[in-house]
Amino acid sequence: MSKLIEILEEKLVPVASWIGSNKHINGIRRAFILMMPLLMIGSIFLMIAAFPLPAYQKFMLETFGPNWKSVLDIPVDATFSLIAVYVAFLVAQQLANQYKLDSVAAGLLSLASFLILTPLTKVEGVGSVLTFNWLGSKGMFVAMVIGIFTVSIFRFFVNRNILIKMPDGVPPEVIKSFEALIPGTVILSLALLLRITMMNTEYGTIHDFIYKMLALPLRALGTSFIGSLMTVFAISILWSVGINSGSMVNGFVRPFWLENQIDNINALKEGLPLPHIITEQFFDMIWMGGAGATLSLLLAVGIFAKSRHIKSVGAIGAVPGIFNINEPILFGMPIILNPIMLIPFNVVPLVMVTTQYLAMSIGLVSKPLGVAFPWPTPAVISGFLTVGDLSGAMIQIVNLIIGAMIYLPFLRIIDKASKYEEDKVAEFEKEEEANKELKTI
């Protein structure tokens, strides 16, 4: 068993180290982290508009009149429905930052390329308009790819020093603005070329092409039940050898989750049934107490632990645990690199995903509304807010109890061992004390 852990550590640490230092993955990850506040603020407005409680809806309608929702839709559209625009800028900017390039120039070039590739629609009597169609979640994947390509081309020119040189004495700010000129022209020309090429295919735009060929199938896989189990397992197994894996793994899947999330938000706005079960908030409901859903373990510790060490770990970990921070328990119990505790640590989240997915697909529990909350939101509250009614809180309580029952037998093994050791130490000290007394007499 500890041999297995050794092998795991040997194999997984290089993977983590590669992910941790891969600039492209980091660029995308950071771009999405930077967008989180925006999405949460959008969520607040959406919650005010669409909270699915009939009495509340009636009250708002009577108080503010029939148009009350359309005002709140404005900030929701400005955040969720324009997400691809933010992504196009941020991914390039964050990636350029890591390569120490002019990051704002890279971000702007990427955004301009994105807009070149997103055709305008002519509307009679209005003129040319940019519709939301490809600016929201549907355009996000292309925006990400454009961001990466823009920076790659930018780098190509900077590395080979193909830049406009300025004579001495020109202020650095001016030099900087000229540096982006050659790579920028090339990047935008390539985007235009791509646009013209796509116009001559059956797809019409790069958006339609990528969406049908790549984004849709990838997203279907990533947000399926099996995909969810794989995501959860990847996080648990990496944590098993002590690698902080949540943000790493989420970095890959978050773009797909976000598309589902925004679909649900749009359905909510229209008052339609929610199409998706799997969004990021689905997983926030699972990670109660942090990776491994250790709030369940805390529950088991609170009721059954006898050893002083385990009890004190429980006491130290309780408050951070409520806010989904569990390093004290992971390293203090310890769970990490502990062959006994790692079994439930890996199994519990898989079981919880299964029960929650089942409960949501048969309609016993409502689906996630798509609104986003900070991840330290405590369990039970987070479930209630995520689905907008008590069924979300209920499934979390049920899952907490199931988790505690799975953790319990394993906890008892290490609790017994720890208690045995403590008793022996106490006995030994007592004897010492007795011997000392004998001598003094």
């Binding site: 983590a16 002590g242 690698i243 921070i325 390093e327 203090g332 310890p334």
Partner: protein, 101 residues
């Protein structure tokens, strides 16, 4: 004054440790500066601190960061997981101070 920087991925649990370490320093009457930041802040703060400690959850970054630190004659070490888990501020503080001397 000795300056210690703790690094992890989000700076959440590390900031709890910082609090415990400062309490321990206070008890001993030591004057130290301790802060917690995300890993990406490492390079720009390389000049400002005497020692850099990693949370055990990001220990896989140690070799990479230590190489950069060594060029400036500094060190990056990983906090003992058990001390980290039990939030033993005094022990971690002692560990850090020993590394500086």
């Amino acid at each position: 004054m000795k300056k210690i920087l703790l690094l992890c991925s989000a700076g959440m649990s590390t900031s709890i440790i910082v609090k415990k370490m400062l309490e321990a320093a206070d008890k001993k009457g030591l004057e130290v500066e301790i802060k917690a930041m995300g890993l990406e802040m490492f390079q720009e703060n390389l000049g400002n601190y005497d020692i850099f400690l990693l949370g055990p959850q990001v220990k896989f970054k140690r070799d990479e960061l230590n190489k950069i630190a060594q060029e400036k004659g500094k060190r990056v070490e990983v906090i003992n997981p058990m001390d980290y888990g039990m939030m033993k501020g005094d022990k971690i503080l002692e560990f850090a101070l020993n590394l500086i001397d």
